[in-house]
Subunit: 301 residues, 2 copies
């Protein structure tokens, strides 16, 4: 699992700071999460292949999270895309994008599929044999969802020495990896745990931006490996945070602590702050394992 | 008159090339012409004060000419703008921008005034005592206008020595500058040309992008000082140019020659070309005074 931050600053794009967008690589998928203005340039800058992006998740319809989407969708067309593109986002996103394309007489030549969200309860958005993606309803000024990406528990790992010792034929290997016990020709029954090791622990990533301090999410994100939580402000600007329905670094850390996550990544910093180091300091007073997102930064998990 | 190119490449924004946008400074106005994705970053990069922009002219509704507009309009709000902003562009622009703002519950706190264009004849969009701005109907795949910015003929310049010689009272100066003749107390009539010099020749700038080769514009842009004309392709790609309703460098130069303009600036280059020098070479075979637009370049006139 690999997370690349394309942009993680609040409000407007600037020369050196980009609005929210990130790419999550998980089990051969490349998911784009949010798409602020300039995201397509960030994708090029970080040499991410446009053709690998088939699913885009938009948290909410504030400009700093989706004004890069019309351009990216148009660029896909110019690049001759023919594969389906799935866009998940709040109701209204389809009308907006469709109108912009219509005005330019620029219909896509590939299937563009919108999945519009309205539920205030967690919803399963995507599932295959290896992962699931679900919404995390958040609390912001407009309807907003975070996204929870979870690997499924994989197959058990074959204990090569054990299967050799018992001279088990290859044709049983898949059953064994699926957790089945085996009966040998002489009638001996071998428990699966003799022949396999536990599969690797499935990884999980929760993206929570934008949101006020919202303890309702704690149950759903309990024990995720990595939590990205917005921290637009420091505690000293708590009044602004409340008014704008954003969170402080302290509040993000409190969520991380209560959800017992593996690691907290902070982001969505207000550009009022000269340096982002104070965010980490503030969060670490509450939760030990804190990292700072920054444009271009990669987190390998 | 000063023209700053913010972006002048066709299609999609890239790490080093920006889609169309430029700023024209003329008689204390700062006009933004087109607004491709990332324009607000280019404005910051070139230290152009956002507060000086009160009029935005959008040629047509292809993404590379207006996908930066929603973000810029939102940023104006975040910066606490209270002055009117006038946006001139094809019909549909108001609905699109309004929808995007509505989805984000982000109404502007300043008067945002749309002037929607539908006419296929030149229209006067703006006029004050010093300048006019009118549309130049172009021929592209969608409804498109160029824009013609013209200084008005200024006051005549007072010949300080002459008015001193004839001992003319100051209270007559404005009349003299307005071109009036003067009668002295002794009855002598002085022709205005004795007392003044001609005012400086008014300057003019024509922005023509995007368009196919369209000789219909020649009359309207006759003898402008500076013509910006798109040249998406070289003559060798004339077939693409025809199909996409763009122009070649050769065609842009032919327009410049026939309109007898002072200077031709080329732009809107397809990113298929490794270097833009060939555009200048091709155009100069037809018209002598050619300059190449490039992102960040400034033309002082």
């Amino acid at each position: 699992m690999k997370l690349q931050i394309l942009g993680c600053y609040a409000a407007t794009p600037r020369t050196l700071t980009n609005p929210t967008s990130q790419v999550l690589e998980i089990k051969n998928h490349m998911f784009l999460i949010d798409c602020g203005e300039g995201t397509q340039v960030q994708l090029r800058k970080h040499k991410i292949k446009f053709s690998r992006i088939n699913h885009i998740f938009i948290s909410h319809l504030h400009g700093d999270h989706f004004f890069g989407l019309p351009g990216l969708i148009s660029t896909f067309r110019l690049l001759g895309r023919d594969r389906e593109l799935h866009v998940y986002g709040p109701k209204g996103i389809k009308e907006a994008i469709t109108l912009l394309l219509k005005l330019g007489d620029s219909w896509t030549n590939y299937p563009l599929l919108f999945h519009e969200l309205t539920s205030k309860e967690p919803e399963l958005l995507f599932e295959d044999d290896k992962i699931t993606v679900e919404t995390i309803p958040l609390n912001h000024r407009v309807y907003t969802n975070g996204f929870l990406f979870k690997e499924k528990l994989g197959e058990r790992k074959l204990n090569v020495n054990a299967v050799a010792q018992y001279k088990i034929d290859k044709c049983y290997f898949q059953n064994i990896k699926n957790g089945k016990d085996i009966t040998l020709n002489d009638g001996t029954r071998l428990s699966n745990t003799l022949l396999t090791f536990d599969p690797p622990k499935p990884k999980s990533y929760a993206f929570c931006s934008d949101t006020s301090f919202f303890p309702e999410i704690i149950g759903q994100i309990q024990e995720v490996d990595v939590l990205y939580h917005e921290s637009t402000f420091l505690d000293s600007e708590g009044h602004l945070s409340e008014r704008t329905k954003h969170a402080t670094a302290k509040e993000a850390a409190t969520i991380a602590l209560k959800a017992n996550v593996g690691m907290l990544i902070l982001g969505h910093y207000s550009t009022r702050y000269k340096t982002i180091d104070l965010f980490k300091e503030e969060a670490m007073e509450i939760f030990p394992n804190v990292a700072l997102a920054d444009d271009g930064k990669v987190f390998e998990m």
